[in-house]
């Protein structure tokens, strides 16, 4: 390609400035992912052990995790169950608060203050939160049991963290508690982005609060809702800190999540690196599918712009080819 004289070719800077990212990405993300994938096809168990490729039956580890492992299936089920129990009330409450906080006619005071307070738990280290709640649900003494005995009298202490459903629900509750503020702030900002004239028109048409909310607000923030749903699902599939530190996956594997399963396989003394690698690749696939849905949902927003860019690019390419 020949350039006109006097015009410096800046394209190289585009490459140049992307190099650090690319290098770091190759070393710290791509290579580990490929290596993980590779281990998934080997016999590697333990730090010193050889990684022999499974020649006869390359998919052995994957098959074992997917079809033969009771624990992986249980972990997947737990993960999804914990996420659903947290997400439905989280979304419900966030929507309710959004409806209240964005209602022009209500004029709630201290909105800013409430938002800040509701968001607070989200910023605190999950590990600390988990241990804090573990102390709260302590047996026989602990803040929660303190309340229980106050209501029901002494001797009525409950051993919360030994009950399967209760522990699972506590994990869900902590997730709910940490994330509803975040979801609400996002939804509120979505609603504030809606053209106010639509609400005015609705008001003039005599729509009541409920009608406005369900017929106008929700459809307008559909994209944000979907975005929240999918990011939350991905976050939920990666749940680790809280189940691990609250009850270490127990009691009786009731809070064993997929990430905890992977961690246990590889890092808690079993050294089944190959199983863990296979399980994490399977989780990766599941998450990629979810991400694909996410991008499909976000498409609306960027699509037009992307299309424009592509057109421009094609034009330029044609120009360049013609010039060559």
């Amino acid at each position: 390609m020949q350039k006109k004289r006097g015009v410096v070719d800046y394209t190289k800077y585009g490459y140049l400035f992307s190099i650090p990212f690319m290098v770091a990405f190759l070393i710290f993300t791509l290579y580990p992912v490929l290596y993980t994938c590779y281990i998934g096809f080997t016999t590697k168990q333990g730090l010193i052990s050889e990684a022999n490729f499974l020649v006869d039956d390359p998919f052995k580890n994957f098959r074992e995790v997917l079809f033969e492992s009771t624990l992986f299936r249980l972990a997947l089920k737990n993960t999804v169950a914990i996420w659903i129990v947290n997400f439905i009330p989280q979304m419900g409450l966030a929507l309710l608060l959004t409806a209240w906080f964005t209602d022009n006619r209500l004029r709630i005071k201290c909105k800013g203050f409430f938002k800040v307070i509701f968001y607070l738990p989200n910023i605190i280290t999950m590990a600390s939160v988990a241990i804090l709640f573990r102390a709260f649900f302590g047996y026989p003494m602990g803040p929660v049991n303190d309340i229980v005995t106050k209501i029901k009298g002494p001797g009525s202490e409950i051993y919360f963290l030994i009950k399967k459903t209760t522990t699972r629900n506590i994990v869900s509750f902590i997730q709910f508690w940490m994330w509803y503020g975040y979801t609400m702030v996002q939804l509120v900002s979505g609603v504030l982005g809606i053209d106010p004239s639509i609400f005015e028109a609705a008001e003039i048409d005599g729509a009541n609060r409920l009608q406005t909310f369900f017929k106008i607000t929700i459809p307008s923030i559909r994209t944000i809702l979907l975005f929240t749903l999918v990011t939350s699902l991905i976050g939920g599939l990666n749940m680790f800190d809280i189940p691990m530190l609250l009850a270490n996956g127990g009691p009786d594997n009731a809070t064993l999540t997929t990430n905890l399963y992977i961690y246990n396989q590889a890092f808690s003394g079993s050294y089944k690196y190959n199983t863990a690698a296979a399980a994490s690749m399977i989780m990766f696939t599941i998450i990629v599918v979810c991400s694909a849905i996410l991008f499909y949902c976000m498409r609306d927003k960027d699509e037009a712009e992307l299309k424009k860019l592509r057109k421009l690019e094609r034009k330029e390419q044609r120009k360049a080819m013609a010039g060559a």
């Binding site: 009771t70 026989p140 009786d252 003394g269 089944k272």
Partner: protein, 451 residues
């Protein structure tokens, strides 16, 4: 101006980050007199620090890594440190009965340096100190028959009971009566159940939780968890399901879990019902019950209210073994410390001071130790037991200690089994389901074959 300060701050912090990170790399070249000691409690590290105090000429710096076994964090970290080697690798490391087999005989035995290679005359040392055979068996590496680990405690178990509770139930609190009532040395639980019923009718509980009985059950079984690489459930350990259920159904205990708050509350006498006793070795008395027998605020204490007698079924529980890394650069120092801890039966050796409570100036807890020579010349009379000489009980109890049922997977498998038993007694699943789930846990979390 603000910008300048902010960026300067950032730069210094990043600079500090890099400097701090590269430092560990740079330090590797130097050969300082630093001993890396790895343990899961502060017991052995403190011993070594005390040795330094007593012997000012021992000029090594002690670098302690103490990782609790909770959440099974100790072993992975230790394995990694051993495998990684280098300057930061442990020189001396400790292992507990529940996983010593892995480091002395199993997968990680290769990292251990035989005591003989330190220049210790092992045979003479053992003969002089009269170390119990099981400790030696456990610490001997099968691949070359060399001794790589020894402990310093004798962890044969007994029944540790509260005198006032015994008086309430049977009107007498001497060890002989209690031994008779619980069926000491009978090798069966029959009389124990009868005693449990008597405790119940007196409004007391015979034990705090099923965990107290577990160690007696565990060590009295005919085989270990793993035979020829395959999981086996010994009959005795399977029966623990029924024992635990019986305790729970009949309300014989306070249904506590060992090492949980309610368990400690029972030691203070502040639990639901007064508890007659706990099964355990001498260390349980000194480091657990004695530490937890007093309620600081109310001043309620069970101090001095305890006694020991033999258990219905002999057992041993716990114990710490000490190993040396084959790659240590400080053999001389390791030799000194290892000998002092494990084989020195003189009055300046660790075990004598340990047994007589003279190691630390401010603590005078006594403990049964591995060397019979030391035990013979030590006095186990403690105020905590109302003046009873505990060695009278713990020396014979040591005979029950056998290492042949230990496997390197015990810590994990015991955890799985206890969890399932708990779920079964809580009524969450059937007996069959509990066993089935236990097998799944072992199969998927370990490399043991399960059929």
């Amino acid at each position: 101006m603000k910008k300048v300060i902010a960026s300067a701050l950032c730069l210094t912090m990043v600079g500090a980050a890099f400097a701090a990170c590269s430092k560990d790399g740079g330090a590797k070249g130097e050969s300082d007199k630093i001993l890396n000691v790895w343990s899961f409690t502060d017991e052995v590290p403190n011993m070594i620090l005390r040795y330094k105090e007593l012997h000012p000429d021992f000029d090594y710096e002690i670098n302690i890594t103490n990782i609790p076994t909770t959440d099974q964090a100790y072993q992975p970290a230790l394995d990694e440190a051993l495998a990684a080697g280098g300057k930061d690798a442990p020189d001396i490391y400790c292992a507990e009965a529940a996983f010593i087999m892995k480091y002395s005989q199993g997968g990680a035995a290769g990292y251990a340096l035989p005591y003989a290679d330190l220049g210790i005359d092992v045979d003479k040392g053992i003969a002089d100190a009269k170390i119990a055979q099981y400790t030696i068996d456990i610490g001997t590496r099968p691949s070359d028959g060399k001794l790589v680990a020894l402990g310093y405690q004798a962890t044969g178990g007994a029944f540790i009971y509260r005198r006032t509770v015994a008086k309430t139930v049977w009107g007498a609190d001497d060890p002989a009566t209690v031994a008779e009532k619980i069926g000491a040395d009978t090798g069966s639980w029959d009389k124990f159940w009868q005693a449990a019923e008597e405790c119940k009718s007196a409004g007391c509980a015979i034990v705090s939780g099923d965990g107290d009985v577990w160690h007696a059950v565990e060590n009295s079984s005919s085989t270990g968890w793993v035979v020829d690489g395959k999981l086996t459930i010994p009959k005795e350990r399977e029966e623990f399901l029924d024992i635990s259920m019986k305790l729970k159904e009949n309300n014989y205990h306070n249904d506590t879990q060992d090492w949980q708050e309610a368990w400690f509350a029972d030691m203070k006498g502040l639990g639901q019902k007064d508890v007659l006793g706990f099964f355990g070795p001498a260390w349980l008395i000194n480091y657990t019950i004695a530490d937890n027998c007093t309620d600081e605020d109310s001043g309620v204490t069970t101090y001095g209210d305890w006694g020991v007698c033999n258990s219905p079924i002999g057992f041993f529980w716990g114990g710490t073994w000490v190993l040396v890394n084959k790659d240590t650069e400080h053999k001389e120092a390791c030799k000194t410390l290892i000998e002092w801890i494990t084989l020195d039966s003189s009055e300046t050796g660790l075990q004598y001071m340990w047994a007589n409570g003279t190691l630390y100036p401010d603590k005078n807890t006594k403990d049964a130790v591995a060397s019979a020579t030391v035990m013979a010349k030590s006095d186990g009379t403690v105020e905590f037991l109302g003046g009873q000489n505990m060695f009278d009980t713990f020396i014979p109890a040591g005979d029950y200690a056998k290492g042949d049922k230990l496997t390197e997977y015990d810590e994990k498998i015991n955890g799985f089994w206890r969890d399932q038993v708990r779920a079964y007694t809580a009524g969450e699943k059937t007996r069959e389901q509990a066993i089935e789930d236990f097998k799944v846990q072992v199969k998927e979390n370990t490399t043991i074959t399960v059929e």
